[in-house]
């Protein structure tokens, strides 16, 4: 059994870590982008707590996934909204759970179709290991080791809660 997960406490830790990381990195006036859906919920919280000046961006990476030819279209694709110009700006990309790294690969590709950011940092609520690509979080609320059939699901947006779910060892959907 894994210990229960407290979304509020993880969010507090992530906000503190991100504030410290941004101060150290010297990224001036960063922009925040959340990945639809869970990442956007986490990003909304971080965005408010850290007092980002410009509005929050949201990405739906459905059109950039690498499994279209196997699983087809994802239902309920939402429009991506980046209400700012990413050109030469520092970006903080936010997701709920970092697993294989494929979602982040897709998100990076989509971001670069909007322009050329100065840098992109990755902040995640939970880093659960199991990477299939050379991608790492700059800041994480916590780090877990989970077997492939065990997943973490974030529910929200109000309140944000975390729960373990058992699914087949396949990684579809849990990118």
């Amino acid at each position: 059994m894994s210990a229960p997960l407290d979304a509020g406490a993880l969010l507090d830790r992530l906000a503190d870590e991100l504030a410290r990381w941004l101060a150290q990195s010297g990224c001036s006036d960063p922009l925040m982008v959340g990945i639809h859906t869970g990442g956007a919920w986490v990003a909304e919280q971080l965005h408010a707590r850290l007092g980002f000046r410009e509005p929050l961006g949201r990405l739906d990476i459905a059109f950039y996934r690498d499994d279209f030819t196997r699983v087809g279209m994802h239902p309920q694709v939402r429009p991506s909204q980046l209400p700012f110009d990413v050109e030469a700006r520092h970006l903080v990309l936010v997701d709920d759970v970092l697993y294989t790294g494929r979602t982040i690969r897709a998100a990076l590709n989509e971001l670069f179709d909007y322009g050329r950011p100065a840098s992109v940092a990755l902040a995640v609520l939970i880093d659960r290991g199991g990477r299939e690509l050379p991608i790492a979080a700059d800041v994480a609320g916590t780090t877990l080791e989970l077997p492939p059939e065990r997943h973490v699901k974030l529910s929200g947006p109000e309140p944000l809660t975390l729960a373990y779910v058992e699914r087949g060892a396949g990684r579809e959907g849990g990118q």
């Binding site: 694709v77 991506s80 909204q81 179709d113 322009g115």
Partner: protein
């Protein structure tokens, strides 16, 4: 019949041939998907990698500029490769049959045919005879259907008006020969608008048109009264001076839309036209270029709707192939 040909058991689009037979939910899903694609055209890179490595063949047996170019742009913005074939000027004049043309294109590993043809039912024919991995989209068949035009019109109405249920929509012009009108009427009734009206001389109305779920008007001013949306249809050149109409001048006198006719319409009524416009026939320039006109928005929305339909049909086949 078309329902089972174009929709699989799970409700996914296998082909997109006709609005008739699709549910309200399916039409909404097409518009929602188009909404996600609508922003792509505003970005620095106007392209998503969704259909990289897929080949879309525009198979046009009938001349078209707008429909073909927007299908081509839609496929290219999805990163598909596009082949444009004007068949009227190539294969059939050399005596090759339609089926032979299809087999040859399939041998070139085409994944999708976008078909425009002067004969009603042509796209259905292609869908029935295409290889199982090939999706077919109807880009207009005879006097039968033009479903992507109808859906881009619905998408435009939804973006401007929000809801369908309170709307009164008037369609003016050659209903008899219009595949656009037929698809629009099906879509509007499926989406539950309050009232669909058709406004035309008796000679340009199909018999028993009321059975499609429309109210018939012969007078333009009465027909557009309190309308929220006025859709003008293109009058084909060959209909202008024949037995159906005395002349295009007289058509404009009675059915050409001008600001004067619109005083009885809703103050926020919009004017639409599928293009290309015959200025001074279906409507005057003041109306076509005026503040009520959403004609150019229709063109832009045509790209998003076609991106949606192409990707949904391609997705239906992708899932089938792995099932």
């Amino acid at each position: 019949m078309s329902a089972s040909l174009q929709v699989d058991a799970a409700g996914r689009l296998r082909h997109f041939l006709d609005v008739e037979g699709l549910s309200r939910q399916q039409l909404i899903e097409i518009m929602d998907t188009a909404e996600s694609f609508a922003g792509v055209g505003d970005r620095s890179v106007k392209k998503v990698p969704l259909l990289r490595g897929k080949t879309v063949v525009n198979l046009f047996f009938e001349a078209s500029t707008r429909t073909r170019t927007t299908f081509e742009l839609a496929a290219k913005r999805l990163s598909a490769d596009v082949l444009n074939l004007n068949v009227s000027t190539s294969a059939t004049t050399k005596g090759e049959s339609l089926l032979d043309t299809l087999r040859n294109l399939e041998a070139m590993q085409a994944d999708m045919f976008v078909v425009r043809h002067g004969e009603s039912g042509a796209a259905h024919f292609v869908a029935r005879h295409a290889a199982p991995h090939v999706g077919v989209i109807n880009a207009g068949d005879g006097c039968h259907a033009h479903p992507t035009q109808a859906m881009l019109d619905m998408f435009t109405i939804r973006r401007v008006k929000g809801e369908f249920t309170p709307l009164t929509v008037a369609i003016v012009g050659d209903i008899l020969h219009s595949r656009v009108a037929r698809s629009q009427i099906h879509a509007l009734n499926t989406l539950g608008v309050r009232e669909v009206r058709v406004i035309a001389p008796q000679t340009l109305l199909p018999p028993h048109v009321e059975q499609l779920g429309v109210k018939v008007h012969h007078d333009l001013v009465a027909g557009v009264r309190d309308a929220d949306v006025i859709i003008t249809l293109r009058l084909q050149r060959e209909r202008m001076d024949g037995r159906l109409l005395p002349s295009k001048h007289e058509y404009f006198q009675r059915y050409g839309l001008t600001e004067a006719h619109l005083t009885g319409a809703r103050p926020d009524a919009i004017v639409m036209h599928p293009g290309p416009i015959n200025r001074g026939v279906e409507l005057d320039s003041g109306t076509a270029d005026g503040p009520r006109s959403v004609i150019l928005q229709q063109v832009t929305h045509g790209i998003a709707i076609r991106m949606a339909v192409i990707s949904m049909v391609m997705a239906g086949h992708a899932v089938e192939a792995t099932a």
